[in-house]
Symmetry: C2
Subunit: 122 residues, 2 copies
C-alpha cells in the first residue's frame, strides 16, 4: 500500500468508528454496576483487545461529551486522592432505551453488510 491507500483505510476505520464507539461505550456503561471515568472505560476496551482494538483513547472523550449532551449519559465530578478530579459517567434511562434500539440497528446493519460481502446482495 502507498500513502494514499493507507489514508483510504484510515478514513474507513474512522467512519466505521463513528457509530460503533457510541454503541460500545453505552454497552459497557450499561453493564457496569458503578459509574466509570474515561480512563477506566478506555482500559476496559483496550485491556480486552490490546493492539487489536480499533478504538483509540482520544476518540472516547468527545463521544462521552456528545452522549451526555444527548442525555444518554449523566456525569458527576469527584475529587481523586491521586490527582485532578475525575468525571464519572453513568447510563440514564434514556440511554438504556437508546441501547435497545441501537443493538437492533447494529444487528440489522451488520447482517446486511455481511450478506453483501458474502455475495448474497448485488
Amino acid at each position: 500500500m502507498d500513502g494514499q491507500d493507507e489514508a483510504v483505510v484510515r478514513k474507513f476505520q474512522k467512519e466505521l468508528n463513528g457509530g460503533t464507539v457510541s454503541l460500545v461505550l453505552l454497552a459497557i456503561l450499561d453493564r457496569s454496576p458503578e459509574p466509570l471515568y474515561g480512563y477506566e472505560i478506555a482500559k476496559r476496551i483496550g485491556g480486552a483487545l490490546a493492539a487489536e482494538t480499533p478504538v483509540k483513547q482520544g476518540t472516547l472523550y468527545p463521544v462521552l461529551r456528545s452522549m451526555e449532551s444527548s442525555e444518554l449519559l449523566t456525569s458527576r465530578v469527584e475529587p481523586s486522592v491521586s490527582g485532578p478530579p475525575r468525571k464519572y459517567y453513568s447510563i440514564t434511562d434514556r440511554g438504556r432505551t437508546a441501547l435497545v434500539e441501537w443493538k437492533a440497528t447494529w444487528t440489522r446493519t451488520r447482517d446486511f453488510v455481511d450478506a453483501t460481502l458474502e455475495g448474497n446482495v448485488g
Copy 2:
C-alpha cells in the same frame, strides 16, 4: 419512544452508515462484470432487502462521488435511449486494494462490537 429518542436512533443509523455504505458499494461494484449506474446499484441493494435496508438511495450519490475522487471508482457518462445520459461506475485497481483492507477492518470492528454486546469486553 418520544421525538428525542427517535432522533438519537436516526443519528446512530446515519453514523453507522458513514462507513458501511462505502464498503457495500465497493463490494457490489467489485462483483459486477460490467459498470453500473447509481440507480442500478440502489436497486441491487434495495431489491435484496426491501424495507429492511438501512441504506437510502439519496445517500448513495455523494458516496459514489467521494469514492471517485479518492480514485477507488472510475466513471464514464453514456447516452441513454430512454432519458438523460447515465454515469456508469467501475471499481479501479486502487478500489480492489482498498476493498481487501476494508473487509479486514470491517471483520475486526464487527467482532469487537459483537464481543462487547455479548459481555466479553468491559
